[in-house]
Every structure is written in C-alpha cells, then in structure tokens.
C-alpha cells in the first residue's frame, strides 16, 4: 500500500515537473527552448550514477554477507540504471544537435565514458544470464558491478579533467555547489526534476526488487525439486 502511494506521488511529481519545465520556466537566452531538455537529461544521468552505485554497494553486501537479497537489489538497480543511462544519452543527443550542431562525437570524453558505462552494465545484465546457479551468478555479478562502478566518477569528472564538447557541471562539481553556473530559476527546476525522478526511481527499485525476489524464490524451489528428484531416484536404485 505504501509503495502504491509512493508510485502515485512520483507520478504526480514527474507530471508537475514536466509541465513546469516545459511551460512555466523561461527559455534560456542563448540556447532557447532546447535548454529545457537539460532537466530530464541531468535527472536521468544522476539516477544512472545512483543506480550503479547501489549495484556496487549491494555487490559488496553479497560478497560480505552472502545474503541473496543483496543480489536482488543489485539486479534491480543495474536494470534501472541501464534504462536511465539510455535516457541520459538520448536527452543529451536531442540537446546536443541544436546546440552543438552534432548529436554525438566520439572524441568527447563525457559522451564516450557514458557510452562505456551503458555497455558495461548491459554486459553486467548479460553476464547474469550465463549461469543458473544463484550463488555463482551473484558472485560474478558482484565483482563486475564493483569494477564497473569505477567508471561513475570518470564519467562525472570527465568534463573537469579533459576538454570536450560537453559543458562542465551546472551543479555538483566541488566549486559550484554554492555557486551554480546557471540562474537560480533553472537550478531550482533542475532540483525539482531530480527530486521527482528520484521518487519514480525509488518506486521502480522497490517493484523491480520484488520481482527479483520472486525469481529467487522460484529458482530456489526448482533447485530443491531437482535435489529431491535426484534423492528419490538414488533411493529407488
């Protein structure tokens, strides 16, 4: 019931922030209305970081405690992270074309490291399909999830470390937390959109985790059934 309420709140918050971002906040003087794409683009990128961070932490949890629930959290966060990374890339391409004149440039460090992030976690999800053994799957996935998370700070700080097409951080870079590079009305709308998307993310994580838990229960029941059958066959011989 609480999760359902969270879902309704998230839906209302996202709808309200989309309306504000599209029709209430003024357009940027230089970039025009294309700048409105920043709100869902940055919110998606933030949730991609958060998701993959959760995947890595849950991987550490699994390796430490050997509790399969950590693996279910890691799976839920990784799948949702892939979805949000794809949204961030798509939003960036739609924003980049009118502003930069190109949708994509492989020489840009932010774009390339983000594409790598997407590839790493698609690989993570594919790797999980290689074995039916839940413990082996969780261990392999945990190691890949922890190693792949190294790309998160590289993506975030790539705009500070190297030169490219992508602008530096509007907020979130160490010297801009209290001195954002955009007018406060834009920053406020961005924070609102990030908040609304984070509510949607929380709802999705809970639902995807519940789904992953049901898969674990089904796998465990199938494994016990196989063991029982083998035992019965052994006794019969």
């Amino acid at each position: 019931m609480k999760t359902r309420i969270l879902g309704i709140v998230a839906l209302v918050a996202v709808a309200a922030m989309v309306l504000i971002a599209l029709f209430v906040v003024p357009a940027d003087l230089n970039q025009g209305d294309a700048q409105r794409i920043m709100y869902p683009h940055v919110a998606s990128a933030w949730l991609a970081y958060l998701s993959f961070g959760v995947t890595a932490l849950a991987g550490i949890g699994w390796l430490w405690k050997r509790d399969i629930r950590f693996d279910a959290v890691a799976l839920a966060a990784a799948e949702i992270g892939v979805v949000f990374t794809a949204f961030a890339i798509w939003g960036g391409m739609m924003w980049g074309d009118p502003v930069w004149g190109v949708m994509w440039q492989w020489e840009d460090p932010r774009l390339t490291t983000t594409a790598l992030l997407l590839a790493l976690y698609v690989g993570y999800l594919l790797l999980r399909r290689l074995t039916d053994d839940p413990e082996r799957r969780a261990t392999r996935a945990a190691i890949v999830g922890i190693v792949a998370a190294v790309d998160i700070p590289i993506v975030h700080f790539s705009v500070e470390w190297w030169r490219g097409l992508h602008q530096t951080a509007t907020i979130g870079s160490p010297d801009r937390v209290l001195n954002p590079a955009a007018p406060m009305v834009f920053v406020g709308t961005l924070i609102g959109m990030v908040g609304a998307f984070t509510l949607a993310w929380a709802y999705l994580i809970i639902r995807r985790y519940q789904l992953a838990r049901l898969d674990v229960e089904r796998d465990e029941a199938a494994r016990i059934e196989r063991l029982m059958s083998a035992r019965t066959a052994e006794v019969a011989r």
Binding site: A34, S44, G91, M94, L214
Partner: protein, 40 residues
C-alpha cells in the same frame, strides 16, 4: 517554441520510456505473483 522537435523527442522518449518501463515491471510482477499463487 524553438527547436520544438528536439524538445518533444527528448521528453517523449524519456517520460514515455519511464512510463513504459514502469508498466512492464508492474506487469511482470503481477504475472510472477499469479504464477506463485497458482503454484506454478
């Protein structure tokens, strides 16, 4: 609105994709719960 095509394409795919993904998770969850309740 300037660059309306880009703005609509960006919001359409992101918000539409978010809605579709949420729907797919809820549908998969409902199907799994049904399977469990029916003992499959």
């Amino acid at each position: 609105m300037t660059d309306a095509g880009y703005v609509i394409a960006a919001y359409g795919v992101i918000i539409g994709g978010l809605a579709l993904y949420a729907y797919s998770v809820m549908r998969r969850l409902a199907a799994k719960r049904n399977d469990r309740d029916e003992g499959r």
